[in-house]
Every structure is written in C-alpha cells, then in structure tokens.
Symmetry: C2
Subunit: 366 residues, 2 copies
C-alpha cells in the first residue's frame, strides 16, 4: 500500500515485520535533524521546544491507531515495564485474589505478572483465552490480542465483556495487533492496554512502548514507577510525589528522545492509512500465502482463520529451514521448537512477495 | 581536552553538560549507519549481529569509567527505573524496617524510594548525607554522589563504610559524577549503583541509564521488573521466569537500540581519557569560574570546595538572569527558586569559556 515509502533492500522479501518493522525512508534524515540540529545546535533548549511533551504527543498518534481519543496514551519505556505499570495499577487496593494470565501470550507478560503476583500476594493463574474461567476472585486478566506463535486473533470485545461481567479488569497487550487492524479501546471500555511500536508500527529496534490508561481511570491509577516525569510539577523539585492529573502520570524517567523521535517520524506513513482497508490487505496477503503454502508444500499451517498479519507453519527442522530461506532472501523467523513465522505488513509487502515466499519455502522443504 | 571532537555551535559557551552533554561529532554519522545499514539493510538479522548484547557491551564501557570490572554494569531503561530495581533488590527479604534517602538528591530518587517503601511496608526516612544516623534498622541508604543543586561532592568511601558498619546496603546515584572523577565502585564494595548517561557522558537526550550490580550480589539480586531480556534463556520462550546467572538479570525489555548505539558512539571520546587528569581539569575550570564570579559579582557561590563539575550561584530572579545569559550565548540552567547552575565538562569547555561566562554573568547582574 505504501511500499515506495520504505527502504527494503534489493532482492529481499521481508516477512518479519511482526518482529521488527522495516524503516520508512525518511527516518534516517529525521534522525540527522534530531542529532545535528535539535541536540547539537539547540542543545538543552530542545527540551522546551518539543522534547518534553513528546511522550504524550507521540502517544496521541499511536492512540489514533488503536481507537483511543487523545490524552490517554503515552509512549515510553519497554513493553515489559508497561505491563508492570498496568498490572500493578490494576491490582492496587483490590481485595480479589487472582491475576489471570493468557497462557499463550508472549512470555514476558507472564514473567512480569509473576513478579506482580509475588509482590502483591495475589495468585497467578495461567489460562487460555478460550477458557478463562473468570470468577469474582479475578482482579485482572492479561490478554494478548494476537498470539505471537500462531498468529491467532482473539476477540477483544467478547473477552473484555467476559472480564467485566465478573467485575474483573482487563489489560490488553497489542504488540502484534497495533497497526494490523482497527482496534477500539475506548468503545470497548478496555481498562488498560500496552504494546510495542517496533513491529507493525515500524518505530525502529526497541523503540519505546506505549500504555493506554482511559480518562476515567487516570485519577485512580497509581504508577508504581513514580518517577519525576509523572509528577504534576516535574520541575518544581518537590520532595513528595504528586502524580500528574492526566496520562502523564504513566511516565517515569527522562524519555529516550532519539528512539522516540525515530518512532515519531516512522508514524508519518500512517497519516492517511484507512485501517479497515489495511485490514483487508492484511487478510488478502495472509490468505494468498496460506493458499500457496498449502498447495505447494506438505507443511501444516497452524494459524487459524481469525488471525493477525501472520502465518505460522509447523515445520521439522524449523531453524535450519529459516536459515535457508533467509539465505535465499526470504526473511521470516522461527520460534522453538518447530514454528516458522511469516509476517505480512501490508504497507510494504506485496502479493508477489507472498507468492515468491511460498514458492521458496516449497523448494527448500520439498 | 577534546573539544575538536564535539559539535558546539559557533558563539555558544555551553555550560549545561551536567544536564545534557553536547554531541560528539561522529554520533550523527553513526546514527546514519545504524538506521540505514543495521536497521534498513540487515533488518531483523542485526539482533544477532550485535544488538542483543549491546546492553552488556556498552555497560562494560561505562563500567570502566566508574571502577567496575566487566560483567557488572548493564545499560537500559531510565534512571528512575534503575533506582527502582536497585532499591527493590536491596530490600528484598530484609527484616530491617527503614530506607534512608538522601534528602538532597534529585527528587526522582525520593519519589521512587517512596513507592518502594509503600510496596514493601518499609518506612522511608529522609536525611542529609552529613547526618544519616543509620542504625541496625536501616536496610538501605540511597545517596547521590554529587548534589544536583549545589554541586557538592559527597564522600563515597566514608558513607559506604558508614552504611556497612551497621550492616546496611548502599545504592549510589552517579548521575552527576560519572564522567566527572574517578569512581571506584568495586574497590569501595558498593552494593548497587545507578546513573544516567546523558550528562557528562554525552550519550544524547534521554540515552539509557545504567545499573551496577557487583558479581557477588548477582546470584541473589531479584529484579522486580522480570522481563524476558533478563531471562537465562530469553529465546526459549519458557513459561516461568528464571533469571540469567549474571548481570543480564538486571535487563528488562527490548533495549532501545537507536538511543543505545548513539551512547555507544558517544563513549568513543572516552577511550583514552585519563580520569585523574580529567578531574584536575574539572577542578581547575570550576575554580577559575568561581574565582571570576566572586571577583566580578556580588553573587553567592553555594558550591562547596568538595564538588563535582558544577558551580551553583544563588541569584535573585534566577530564571530571568538565565534567560538573558542564554540570549548572550552562555547556556547554563536554573533550579527553583534562586539557583543558577553552570556545568563544566572538561572534554569541551575551555578556560576562556569559564572566564567569558563569569564576565557575562557580571554584566547582567551588575
């Protein structure tokens, strides 16, 4: 849809945008401007010329892509750190006794949930989104909208309602869904959401993650990482922490400006993207790849119909097969023990890429 | 000492390296290489071509500047997040009842300490480094080596011994001392240290902070932010968190590679710097500025003789005076209510800068 805006090396079919998005062409130039002019020439003055507010400003840009009205998303820290903020915020003061964690989610969410459980005395229970068995003991459910291994898409509306029906809160991890399909956090009354920006949003390696705290939860949201950037008067140098009234209370320390402004630049390519159209292209690309894989190989596609922008294929010797694919210019990745993952970012992946990738996979595994 | 390596704009005397260091000239070019080649051409492959290990590799480079042998420093996250890790690690399992926090430290340290106290049930007590009154109730003391307002340098050796004498641990904040003077964390048996890299280390705006966990504490250090980057087998995708055996357990989520590699580039200018010589130049520059301020103005210098690379001057109407200084090309900053701060980074500040800055201050306040 926007391939001309991206730098994709000659001869490469890049199907790993679900792990690290490709760089929009203009990001390199923007980085020069940031390093040479903003940092080099303006020096400390740049903090009052746009840097300080960048986490909220870029947060609002992400917000538009996930159905969050302005003032509810802030960018900064890593996904893991934001999972921690969201879960600690969700269980604060609860008398409920369990945290339910999506057993199919990317492991870091579970690791952080274990730490939160251990610190707060709650129990942790792993469950699949298809059988959460929530009760009035459940304080919060941590769910991933798209399964990082299989590419399965979970039903955000139904699962959010399921949590709310027993009075539990829900934290959605959008790492594999932001930039994939229309998401309606506000409309679905999601309690918290977090996600990374370096996959389908193309923010760059390790670009800062985001957290969504809806307006009506902000006044009671306690950030366990009560750093000075979240203070209501950060330059007041007050001895006591008093959180900002709004989303800035989810900030912690000084934001990593170079990574943040690379993301800011990368988000330009989304400015006039219609997410419904994007979603159709993503479904078409993954369907096309799936069809060719099933026609040309004996491999099992483990991605269900309800899916994100990813097709996962069970394949013996997955690691070596992926090495060979990469050697032939088809870049995906693998997850142990036997899964090949192929991500389809509609902004820069074409139908020809999808067909050629399936053909190459067939050649290697035949 | 290395001014030719830095980009300082024509006509600017830059005395705010204690807040945001100036960029070494080659950082812009390195960023191009990182964005265009590492991210753009190598794409996901760069994760196994140096990115994954960057937090430890760059950590070792910082370690050399703070007296830490390799394998004990990791770079990532913000200072506030690292204060949290260090304090939570220090109080884990303690039966002692109080956290003592340097009342003169930069506020974020105290804010985070308050959160740690509140989560763990310990009490927090603010005290000045000159009268800590530690007891066998003290679990940990959080101290800043250089006072961000006055520039006062505290005695790391004496204060560390004072803490250890009652069986307390000590966490040192090196934000205003790393890159200022020789620091001997290993030799002084410091328990934990953290610090930022964007002040005297010139890592760039919001460049990632660091944490020092000495070898002998690593096996028992529990990182409350148990993200997948700290796992002993991060790509094993195991359901349970098992920390890395070494310093990598202090890692959390995916590191912000652009900011990290800008810092990496910036550290090149330190490669052959003799820290004892640097210290002498810092003392000479601050003495020269102080002497001229005291000779030419009626303003009170509040920085004591035991100092970092900073001279602080009490000045009525500090905010407007600093605005006028900046308008005349002398860039420092102010801290409420009435303190002007001038930082002297010996790598790029000259004697002429120090004299001219004092003269300009005198012109404005006479």
């Amino acid at each position: 849809m926007r391939r001309e805006l991206f730098d994709i090396p000659e001869g490469v079919i890049y199907l790993d945008g679900n792990s690290l998005g490709a760089p929009p062409k203009h990001v390199a130039e923007r980085m020069q401007e940031v390093v040479k002019h903003q940092w080099g020439t303006r020096l400390i003055r740049s903090w009052s010329e746009g840097w300080w507010e960048a986490p909220q400003r870029v947060g609002d840009r992400v917000g538009r892509l996930i159905g969050a009205a302005p003032g509810q998303v802030v960018v900064g820290d890593s996904t893991s750190v934001n999972v921690y903020k969201a879960l600690m915020g969700a269980v604060k003061g609860t008398e409920r006794t369990e945290i339910v964690c999506d057993e199919s989610t990317f492991p870091t969410d579970g690791y952080i949930a274990q730490s939160v459980a251990s610190l707060t005395g709650l129990k942790i229970r792993a469950a699949h989104p298809s059988s959460l068995d929530l009760t009035e003991d459940t304080a919060v459910v941590l769910l991933n909208q798209v399964d990082y291994r299989t590419g399965a898409l979970h039903d955000m509306k139904a699962l959010t309602e399921q949590a709310h029906a027993v009075g539990a809160q829900v934290v959605w991890d959008l790492c594999h869904s932001a930039g994939v399909l229309p998401i309606e956090l506000d409309a679905l009354q999601v309690d918290f959401a977090i996600g990374c920006t370096y996959k389908f949003l193309n923010g760059g390696p390790g670009s800062p993650a985001f957290i969504y705290v809806p307006k009506h939860r902000q006044a009671t949201f306690e950030n366990p990482l009560s750093g000075w950037n979240g203070h209501r008067e950060p330059f007041g140098m007050k001895p006591s922490y008093e959180p900002d009234a709004g989303i800035a209370r989810a900030r912690v320390g000084t934001p990593d400006i170079l990574s943040m402004l690379a993301l800011d630049a990368a988000l330009d390519v989304w400015d006039d993207v219609d997410l419904a159209e994007l979603r159709q292209r993503g479904l078409a690309l993954t369907a096309l790849f799936r069809e060719h894989v099933e026609k040309l190989t004996n491999l099992e596609v483990i991605t269900p119909d309800q899916r994100g922008n990813q097709i996962s294929v069970r394949c013996p010797d997955a690691r070596n097969v992926m090495d060979e694919l990469i050697a032939r210019g088809v870049i995906g990745d693998h997850r142990p023990p036997d899964v090949l993952r192929f991500g389809f970012a509609p902004l820069y992946v074409t139908d020809e890429d999808a067909i050629k990738a399936a053909e190459t996979l067939a050649e290697i595994t035949r």
